[in-house]
Symmetry: C2
Subunit: 210 residues, 2 copies
């Protein structure tokens, strides 16, 4: 637990991006399990629910009409088209966490990250790279559900996502999930200690030296 954590500070928007297969979902799950101070922002999407997914936990599944309505109503902090489907971050999801005193984990791609940075320049952007493309392909194949053609498409998409790494504040290489989690946690802990976000410091120092 961060020291001096009793001090007031601004909640963090903590973005994790990576190509599919780089292990981001595992890292996100481990982080949410290990750190009570951060909660996932559940995205809205127009893509259909997959087996094993739970509505409201994995995504808010909505139809195109409802997504249009949310866009019109200004309910999204960011949204993007990905292969004909739409994905977006709801303001209400972020607000809910921040108001409960927790930071927000956003599992979004480079398009969403670019938009979010425009809306809130204070976001923290972390990109997770696979150790190699061979390892990425191995992980994608290990799922055992996709044809060679689908795998080839995912690999091309992964390369396109990776090409945006330099737009991130931190870039981590995921050789090993536990080591990568340690690094993600160090980044989160450090960002929580940034003077610019610890709004309670002014009062604390006023109390110290008047």
């Amino acid at each position: 637990m961060a020291q001096g954590s009793q001090l007031k500070r601004r909640g963090l928007l903590f973005v994790l991006s990576s190509p599919s297969g780089a292990g981001k979902s595992t890292i996100a799950r481990l982080l949410l399990g290990a750190d009570d101070g951060i909660a996932l922002s559940v995205s809205a999407t127009t893509r259909p629910m997959r087996p094993g997914e739970v509505a409201g936990r994995d995504y808010h599944f909505v139809d195109d009409q409802e997504f249009d309505r949310l866009v019109e109503a200004g309910e999204f902090l960011e949204w993007a088209h990905v292969f004909g489907r739409r994905y977006g971050t709801l303001r209400s999801e972020v607000r809910k966490s921040i108001e409960s005193g927790r930071d927000v984990l956003l599992d979004i791609d480079w398009q969403g990250t670019q938009q979010l940075k425009q809306v809130d320049p204070d976001i923290v952007r972390v990109f997770i790279l696979p150790p190699s493309m061979a390892e990425l392909e191995r992980r994608l194949r290990a799922r055992g559900t996709d044809s060679d053609e689908v795998i080839a498409g995912r690999m091309a998409r992964a390369a396109a996502e990776i090409s945006h790494w330099a737009e991130y504040d931190y870039v981590l290489i995921n050789d090993d999930a536990a080591a990568c989690l340690t690094n993600v946690q160090a980044v989160l802990d450090a960002e929580r200690l940034k003077a610019s976000r610890r709004t309670g410091l002014h009062d604390f120092v006023r109390g110290l030296i008047g």
Copy 2:
């Protein structure tokens, strides 16, 4: 150990400042003991050596003439007057660590930090606050060597140093040395993972996606 640490990156100039008595020396010693990747920059000073100090370990002790010569020769990254004595960071100290692949810990005050930031905007600045002024006074008195008048002078100096807290990137409260060290280490680990400093990432990504 930071993951992907085999990647080339720029060495870090890591500044620790605090008022005397806030525990900075303890934290610095613990950090240097725990982390092989960082080395102390030993400052030059014109103040006399104190009992228990070792020349070249605690400071490079020089006379006024030698200090003048070093200033003239442009050997200092920063230097400042503090109560009639001069203190400075030698370029050679910083170069030595960086060339050996290690980050540099600088134990300097707000004046030195301001100058260093001008020379190298990429420095990381950490300020350590005491939990209270009563605790600071208690720690200063625990040394058992100083008169009330000297203590009063140190307390005034501490308040002046603390007034510069907002010029730092991170501000930590030292309630407990072990917890404070954990936070300092998280900041150091995270800063090492900043994409802007990991010069090896370009080659790594070129290797990944061509």
